[in-house]
């Protein structure tokens, strides 16, 4: 006896959750099985669609201008431009107020913690007031105990990048942080709970204390940026309180791992899964599969729950186990492979051909993944679908370098949306 669903999604990152939500939209029973934390923990929380062409031209003002010219095999080429638009508006509906950028087809330029700017298509509401393509003068605030973000340096870097405003940075000590090695979640929690902290002026709430520390440094700026630590569950409230107290707009600058905006997006997606009636099984890996008698369809997969093996059967499967980072693509000294179904992963035989010497050169390893047909079914080396009822989505796909193109989130959404929708359609028949 196996646990039965119509659609089974393997992997719960941006692609898997999108696929599960899209499948659930087709009124079928959907389950998502996922193992460890997804790549969103590392990612900035921005949803890039296409910032640069594969040839490196950009930053693109409108990603859709370039989408139709992508090479054969690029995930966007596989699903088609229209599907990318649909997937974005699907995401906009799911994210609601939490994300912005849908009001225009143009990319936004977002300042990052390195002081660089990057093009993106959708950004968290917490970032909205901070865009570098907005010409208001900006004060950046860093903290002496957070070495990841050196605000005066980031401000100077923004100016070197030619931003259309004056940027200044100050470094302060964060009221209520007593340890020099406090985790970013500690800062967020302090503000979330508005914990009582002692300052020179006595005991006050953490938000008030932070606003008081910053206030004296605001000159003519109408917006103030902080590293992305402004609360977790109550982030909007924290920002609103700071903005009220300071009388300016407040925004967050995306940071490296662990990334609170990424974690907030993950929470949002899992809330949506619950609302959509998707059954979620997390913390367990899928470890094997069985085909039916014809060998062409996956009959069921096996989940390893602390040693016991549980079969899960569905009509349709979506593989969204991520790329090298999510471990949906793995490698050994001699080969690169997809560990679950052993789907074909094209790669050079000599591992010294997996990379080039320039760290930011055209890196072959960044494209490792599965080739798929236009139905997003993984293909064998002979261009045949590996299985008739398996589709793949997200970072597990080949044919693009999301880091260079700035296309990671968009590809996960578009392919997740298409794979989930098709699986839902077929799984309901």
């Amino acid at each position: 006896m196996a646990i039965e669903d119509d659609v089974l999604v393997l992997g719960g990152g941006l692609a898997g959750t999108t696929a599960a939500l899209a499948a659930a939209d087709q009124d079928v029973q959907v389950r998502l099985v996922t193992h460890k934390q997804s790549t969103l923990r590392h990612a900035s929380g921005l949803i890039d669609v296409l910032g640069y062409t594969p040839a490196g031209d950009g930053p693109l003002v409108d990603p859709f201008d370039a989408l139709s010219d992508l090479p054969d095999g690029h995930p966007y080429e596989r699903v088609g431009v229209e599907a990318v638009r649909e997937a974005l508006s699907f995401f906009d509906d799911v994210a609601g107020e939490a994300y912005a950028g849908a009001h225009t087809g143009a990319n936004a330029l977002v300042p990052t913690h390195g002081g660089t700017v990057k093009p993106t298509a959708r950004y968290p509401a917490s970032t909205a007031a901070g865009l570098a393509s907005d010409d208001r003068d900006t004060l950046l605030v860093g903290f002496e105990t957070l070495p990841d973000f050196e605000a005066p340096l980031a401000a100077a870097h923004l100016e070197a990048a030619g931003v259309p405003f004056t940027a200044r940075g100050v470094t302060l000590s964060f009221p209520g942080i007593v340890r020099d090695d406090a985790k970013v979640t500690r800062y967020a929690h302090l503000l979330d709970q508005n914990e009582s902290v002692s300052t020179g002026a006595g005991e006050t709430g953490a938000r008030e204390a932070l606003a008081a520390a910053v206030e004296a440094h605001v000159e003519d700026e109408s917006r103030v940026g902080f590293p992305a630590i402004l609360g977790d569950e109550h982030a909007a409230e924290v920002r609103a309180d700071l903005a009220d107290a300071l009388g300016v707009d407040v925004f967050e600058v995306p940071m490296g791992p662990p990334s609170l905006p990424g974690l907030r997006l993950e929470d949002l997606l899992y809330d949506a899964l619950e609302d959509a009636g998707v059954r979620v099984t997390s913390g367990v890996p899928v470890v094997e599969y069985e085909t039916g008698t014809d060998g062409d369809r996956i009959d069921h997969v096996v989940v390893d729950r602390t040693g016991s093996k549980l079969p899960h059967r569905a009509d349709q499967y979506v593989l969204a186990t991520g790329g090298l980072v999510g471990k949906g693509v793995r490698s050994e000294r001699e080969r690169v492979y997809e560990p679950l179904f052993d789907c074909h992963v094209p790669h050079a035989a000599d591992r010294y051909d997996w990379f080039v010497d320039d760290v930011f050169g055209d890196q072959p390893y960044a494209r490792f993944g599965l080739r798929v047909d236009r139905e997003l079914r993984p293909l064998t080396a002979d261009d045949e679908p590996e299985f008739s009822n398996l589709r793949a989505a997200g970072a597990v796909l080949s044919g693009y370098d999301f880091a260079a193109e700035k296309s990671g989130g968009g590809v996960s959404l578009a392919t997740g949306y298409v794979a989930g929708t098709r699986a839902g359609e077929e799984g309901g028949e």
Binding site: G56, P59, L131, A132, G162, L324, V325, R333, W354, A404
Partner: protein, 567 residues
């Protein structure tokens, strides 16, 4: 610009730094010039084994005797650079009994404490040894940190008045007839600590005596004055594992061979090595089979290595020397002894000697011998004190322990900081300012990074070497940026950006040879963090041309009209 000094030392490896310290302590005025940062050459690319001499106990007993003597001295004067791990010569069933016996007797003849262990006893010490290991000989091998050792020598030389000039490449020897009286160097930035993006200058440094301690590059220096120095550079690979599978140095007990030593270092274990002659010490192939061989061969001794995660591999070139006419074909047969070439005697050109060959373990003895020689040449009567005077940082470990809590650091971080800094710990860590951890993997704090920047300027690779920041599991993906941040505001944004780019590229260089498994996943994560999150691959600040910001989304939505026509 011309400056004069008593003695000019060329090369900032262990040999050069050791000589500079020795001569400075004898009261001579010393200048040391190094083309990169300290340890840039072979010293920063070696295995880190403080030999007990066991390795040479059969084949080269003179070297073996010297090793054990120096091994004992370094434990005394440089305790904070040495981890007394002990070592085992392990015999597998297929390895010769006769050789095992010769090794044991050789050790005893050379005064190397040696004890035989049964296979079971050996596995009690090192549980990951293969089940069928037959016997082992226990010797006092140890792990030595060449970076700390070199830096400690250099700092002490400075304390005794020496000038240590890094990023100063010798581009010519000043030769007047049959006398060498100095060099011309090109500074990569101005003299003193390095600053990125600052234009270089050249300087003539004259000296009463020149010591060529450029190791594998000694021949190139010789060429500048038409002297022939027959260095035979021989490369070797080392592969770093992400965890420390063994706590003692593990040697294979057989005549000679590649891939026969594992040295534990801090949180890692390093596998090594090979021995292959190369033509050019700056340009030789780094080959995949060498890395594969490390793992395949050494997993015969420690089987879990075949499954383990490697962090990176790196190569070094041995400065082997062979007197003219010896004609050895296999580089493993070339002696590991060192040679002092007095060019006055050898070539009839006065003013310079060259020192080549040897081992890191015996750097101090080499330095002593050459310092004696220089003093002799200059008619100086002063005796060597380097065997007795502790290196800075190695005394007063107790005060470190006592001061443990003072620094407001969590203990593993504090412990590691103190191990690195030795007795300078209180000086460096005693700060009122916030002192967060800048590199999480290695637990390096801001105060240490700042201290290293004071000494190295914007050369973040030198900061890395001094502190170990960016050398852990993440290979700098998460902390290169943080290290560069520490340069600001002392250095401006453009300089910081150049320094970061250089460090990040340098970290990638070593990582490339371990690009599979976890390390490839980590590489992708690092690439994504720097290219995707930060867009550092296409940073508009570094690209030419103006970006038209106004064409992009300004974030301000046009007020939306409600469907019912209201507002």
């Amino acid at each position: 610009m011309t400056t004069h000094t008593d003695v000019l030392v060329l090369g900032g490896g262990s040999t050069g730094c050791g000589i500079a310290r020795d001569l400075a302590m004898r009261g001579l005025e010393v200048t040391l010039v190094e083309r990169g940062n300290l340890t840039e050459g072979t010293t920063g690319r070696m295995h880190g084994l403080l030999h007990s001499g066991g390795r040479y106990a059969v084949s080269d007993q003179a070297s073996a005797r010297e090793c054990i003597e120096e091994n004992e001295i370094l434990r005394e004067i440089a305790g904070h650079c040495v981890e007394a791990t002990g070592g085992l010569f392990v015999q597998r069933p297929e390895d010769s009994d006769d050789y095992f016996q010769e090794k044991l007797e050789g050790c005893r003849e050379c005064g190397i404490p040696a004890r035989v262990l049964s296979g079971r006893e050996a596995r009690e010490i090192e549980p990951y040894l293969a089940d069928d290991v037959k016997r082992a000989i226990e010797v006092p091998d140890a792990a030595v940190d060449p970076f700390r050792l070199c830096v400690a020598n250099a700092i002490d030389a400075e304390t005794h008045g020496a000038r240590i000039e890094t990023h100063a490449e010798v581009i010519d020897l000043l030769r007047d007839g049959d006398d060498i009286h100095g060099v011309e160097v090109r500074h990569e930035s101005g003299p003193g600590k390095r600053t990125h993006t600052v234009a270089g200058t050249t300087e003539e440094i004259t000296a009463d005596y020149v010591v060529n301690a450029t190791g594998a590059w000694a021949g190139q220096i010789g060429n500048m004055a038409d002297l022939e120095i027959e260095v035979r550079p021989s490369k070797g690979v080392m592969t770093i594992m992400n965890v420390r599978q063994v706590d003692t140095v593990i040697n294979r007990c057989r005549p000679k061979g590649d891939a026969d030593i594992i040295v534990p270092h801090e949180t890692t274990a390093i596998l090594g090595t090979t021995d292959e002659e190369v033509d050019d010490p700056d340009d030789y192939p780094e080959e995949q089979w060498e890395v594969d061989q490390m793992i395949d061969t050494l997993s015969e001794l420690v089987p879990i290595l075949s499954e383990a995660r490697t962090i990176r591999s790196f190569w070094g070139v041995r400065p082997l020397y062979e007197p003219p006419g010896t004609g050895t074909t296999d580089p493993t047969d070339i002696t590991r002894e060192f040679f002092l070439l007095d060019h006055a005697e050898r070539d009839g050109v006065s003013g310079m000697s060259t020192i080549v060959g040897g081992k890191l373990t015996t750097y101090r003895a080499m330095a002593e011998e050459i310092a004696d020689h220089v003093c002799d040449k200059l008619g100086v009567r002063a005796s060597c004190a380097t065997a007795d005077e502790p290196l800075p940082g190695s005394e007063t470990i107790e005060t470190l322990e006592a001061g443990m809590d003072d620094f407001g650091l969590r203990s593993p971080v504090a412990r590691r900081s103190k191990q690195r800094l030795g007795s300078r710990a209180s000086e460096v860590l005693d700060t009122d300012a916030a002192n967060p951890v800048v590199c999480q993997c290695e637990g390096v704090t801001r105060a240490e990074i700042q201290d290293a920047i004071t000494q190295s300027g914007t050369d973040l690779n030198a900061v890395r070497i001094r502190t170990r920041a960016s050398m852990g599991n993440c290979q700098g993906g998460f902390c290169c940026q943080n290290m560069a941040n520490e340069l600001h505001p002392e250095y401006d944004e453009e300089t910081v950006r150049a320094a970061l780019d250089e460090l990040f590229q340098e970290r990638w260089k070593g990582e490339r040879h371990a690009l599979w498994g976890e390390q490839l996943s980590q590489a992708m994560l690092n690439y994504a963090l720097h290219a995707t999150t930060m867009n550092r691959d296409r940073d508009p600040a570094s690209e030419s041309g103006d970006l038209e910001y106004a064409a992009f989304d300004s974030g301000r939505q046009t007020p939306q009209r409600r469907a019912d026509g209201g507002n």
